[in-house]
Structures are given as C-alpha cells and as structure tokens.
C-alpha cells in the first residue's frame, strides 16, 4: 500500500509538479503586440534620395468615408488599411486637383491572443499592386509598430 519510501517519493514529486504547474499558470499572456494597421509611406526626393515634404489637399481611401489628411505637407504619412479586405486603394488629391492612387495588397491573419486580451490583426506580405506615382518601392512587408517605413515614393 501507500507506505515506505514510495509514499515520500510520491508526495515529494507530486507537490513539486503542482508547484511547477501553478508557476506555469501564473505566466500570463502578454496582451501587447507590435501589430498595426498603418502603412508608413515615405516621400523622397528622386534626385537626392532624401526625405522631402509633399503637400496634398486630401488623402483618403476607396471604401472610406474618412479623410485621413487634409491640406497637409509632410514627408511621412500613416495610412490605415482596410481590415476587412486584403487590399486597399489610397487616394491622394494633389494641390493641382489631380489624383494619384496607391493600391496595396496584404495577407491578414486573425490571432486570438487570449480570453482576456482579445484578438489582434496581423498584416504581412505587403506589396504594391499599382500606383500612379512615378516611382514607388515596397520595403518592410510586415505592418509593425517597429517599422520606420513600408513604402518609399520618389518624386
């Protein structure tokens, strides 16, 4: 029966494993992620390759009722992608009332972090489908808060 050395080995190992299990359970999931829905678009001087401000009367996207930027001159713009679809078309209204477009595609992954943290959306494989800008290059293909730029546009 449960006596002798087995009793002590059983108790010792059982309590040891219970402690390990409790410690492992205390290791809660981190709710913070670096995922973002914003594409960072950087405008550069085509002659020098340096960042250069470009003025737009308006920046928005197809399917969106929101104006992301209005009458703004910046070298870096943060543009939100459409999270339901796997492609977005950004519209840039220039000061001369012409419109440039930038169409991008990406793969969306829904990640359930935990019951308490909820879910998160991850966007990878960002690519340029087409654009009316003279020259655009896709750099970082994963949307992350750690990125400095995703797309470079030369003008």
């Amino acid at each position: 029966m449960l006596d002798g050395y087995l009793k002590y080995i059983y108790k010792l190992t059982f309590y040891f494993l219970i402690c390990l299990y409790v410690l492992a359970a205390c290791d809660t999931t981190d709710c913070i992620t670096f995922n973002t829905r914003f594409v960072i678009v950087d405008f550069l001087d085509s002659a020098t390759g340096d960042s250069k401000s470009r003025q737009f009367d308006l920046i928005s996207a197809q399917e969106s009722q929101v104006i992301f930027y209005s009458d703004t001159s910046l070298s870096t713009y943060y543009l939100p992608v459409n999270t339901e679809l796997e492609q977005s078309i950004f519209l840039f209204l220039n000061t001369d009332q012409t419109i440039d477009t930038l169409e991008v595609s990406y793969d969306k992954t829904v990640i359930l972090i935990s019951k308490d943290c909820g879910y998160d959306l991850e966007f990878k494989n960002l690519g340029i489908i087409q654009t009316t800008f003279d020259s655009a290059v896709s750099l970082e293909n994963e949307l992350s808060r750690l990125n400095e730029e995703n797309i470079k546009i030369f003008f």
């Binding site: 029966m1 449960l2 087995l6 080995i9 059983y10 190992t13 059982f14 494993l17 219970i18 390990l20 299990y21 492992a24 996207a61 399917e63 969106s64 009722q65 929101v66 992301f68 939100p80 459409n82 999270t83 339901e84 793969d107 969306k108 992954t109 829904v110 990640i111 359930l112 019951k115 909820g118 879910y119």
Partner: protein, 249 residues
C-alpha cells in the same frame, strides 16, 4: 530542451532493447489492465462553465512495460463583448511506458515513456470590428476538420491506495507538433489534448485515478545469483531471497 530529449531518447533505446530481450524469451504476457480517468479534467468540467473535458486512460501490464492509451473529448466555448470562440474535438494517445520498480509487491509503478498523440477538432471564431476609418463589419471564420499530431515524453507514478484502486500523476512534455494546413485567416488557438497552439512544445500535468483488473498472476521473480553463491560456498545459505539481486529475465 534538446538535451532533455536527447537523454530521454537514449533511455528509450535502452528500454526497447530490454523489451526485445523479453520478447525473445517469451515472457511478454499481459497480466492486467488498468482503467482510469483524469481527476483534474473532471474538476475543470465541474467548475469552469466554458470548458468540458473528459479523458479515459488505460494501460496493459506487460511486466516491466505498459502499453498505454488515452482517449479524450473536449469542448471549449467562450465569448466576450466583440468576439466568440468555439472549439470541440477529440484526441487519442498511444505509447509505451517503462516501469522502474517492477519488483514492487503492491504493483505500484514509477514510469517513463513515450506517446504518439493525434487530435481532430473543429474551431470557429467570430468577431466584430468597429472601424473608425472604413466601416463596421463582422466576420465569422470556421475551421472544420482540423487535425494535429505530436509526441509526448512522460514521467509519472501510479500508487495503490486501496485494494485495486490506484492514484497517479503524470508530467509530460509535448513536442514536435504538426497542425493541418490552415486555409483561413484565423490562426489555430487550441488543440484538444495538446493545449494552446501558440507554442511548438508544451508541458502538462495530469492527476489520475485507476482501477486495476488482473486476469493472471504476474510471473514470479527468478533469483539469478543464488546458484552461483551456493557453488562458491556450499555451506552458505541465502538468508532472505528478497535481499539478493533478482532479475526478471
């Protein structure tokens, strides 16, 4: 982790060599079956309204070795303000354990072993998005017929507490997980029998109760070195056979 697995597999090779020795001498005859369930899972099912888990455990006594099998069913559903998750499925695990104290008169066992595990399950995730830039929407992602398999290295004890009733615990490392291809945008969250799917290895703990059903006597232990000692010193009498070094072969 790699070192642990290296030593574990070395021990398994020794174990299987030992088993082949038994087989050659014709001593691998099942003597009992032990059937049980996981008490921890019953507790989870009783106290966690979102989770239902049930597991049946069985082993067949092959002297130093045990053929083991587990079958489990699980259901996990939870919902929060903007999302709901549902997972239901079953799993089966089969393997072999090596008993480190096969001489124990109460048939207690301290064991280590290896199992192969296979799980099939359905998973679904619904969420709604209040999007300040585009439009609000809701998405429902279903993943029916998902499959996963992995291996488990386990170590534990089963101790007789009353007549043929045994209590046991098992610690296990689950590793080499493979999940079937995902054709949806939702990452697999939970695998029945394995746990959260975010890690390629995971460890678990089980607390089990068993009932042993014997169907034949275990073969008696054969004293191996008694004869040699008698030949060396004819007047010497073995005082207590239990003190001699016995071999089950």
């Amino acid at each position: 982790m790699k070192k642990i697995l290296k030593y574990f597999f070395s021990a398994l090779i020794v174990m299987f060599c030992d088993l082949s020795g038994f087989a050659q001498k014709g001593t691998v005859m099942p003597s009992a079956v032990r059937i049980g369930t996981d008490l921890g899972f019953i507790g989870v099912s009783l106290f966690d309204p979102e989770k239902t888990v049930f597991e049946i455990n069985a082993d067949i006594d092959l002297y130093k070795f045990f053929i083991t099998a587990d079958y489990g069913m699980s259901r996990w559903e939870f919902s929060r303000e903007r999302f709901a998750y549902e997972n239901s499925g079953s799993y089966i695990k089969a393997g072999i354990d090596y008993n480190l104290i096969a001489r124990d008169p109460d048939l207690n066992i301290i064991y280590f072993g290896l199992k192969y595990a296979y799980s099939s399950f359905d998973e679904s995730f619904n969420y709604s998005m209040n999007d300040p830039f585009y439009y609000d929407y809701a998405e429902e992602i279903s993943k029916p017929g998902m499959r996963a398999h992995w291996y488990e290295a386990n170590f534990g004890m089963k101790i007789r507490v009353w007549k043929d009733l045994y209590l046991g615990w098992a610690g296990r490392i689950k590793f080499a997980k493979k999940t079937s291809a995902n054709s949806t945008s939702f990452n697999t969250y939970f695998i029945p029998g394995y746990g959260l799917a975010d890690s390629d290895s995971r460890w678990g703990f089980n607390y089990q109760i068993f009932y042993r059903i014997p169907f034949r006597e275990k073969p008696p232990y054969k004293p191996k070195k008694v004869k040699e000692k008698v030949e060396r010193d004819p007047e010497a009498q073995p005082i207590n056979n239990q003190q001699n070094e016995f071999d089950f072969n």
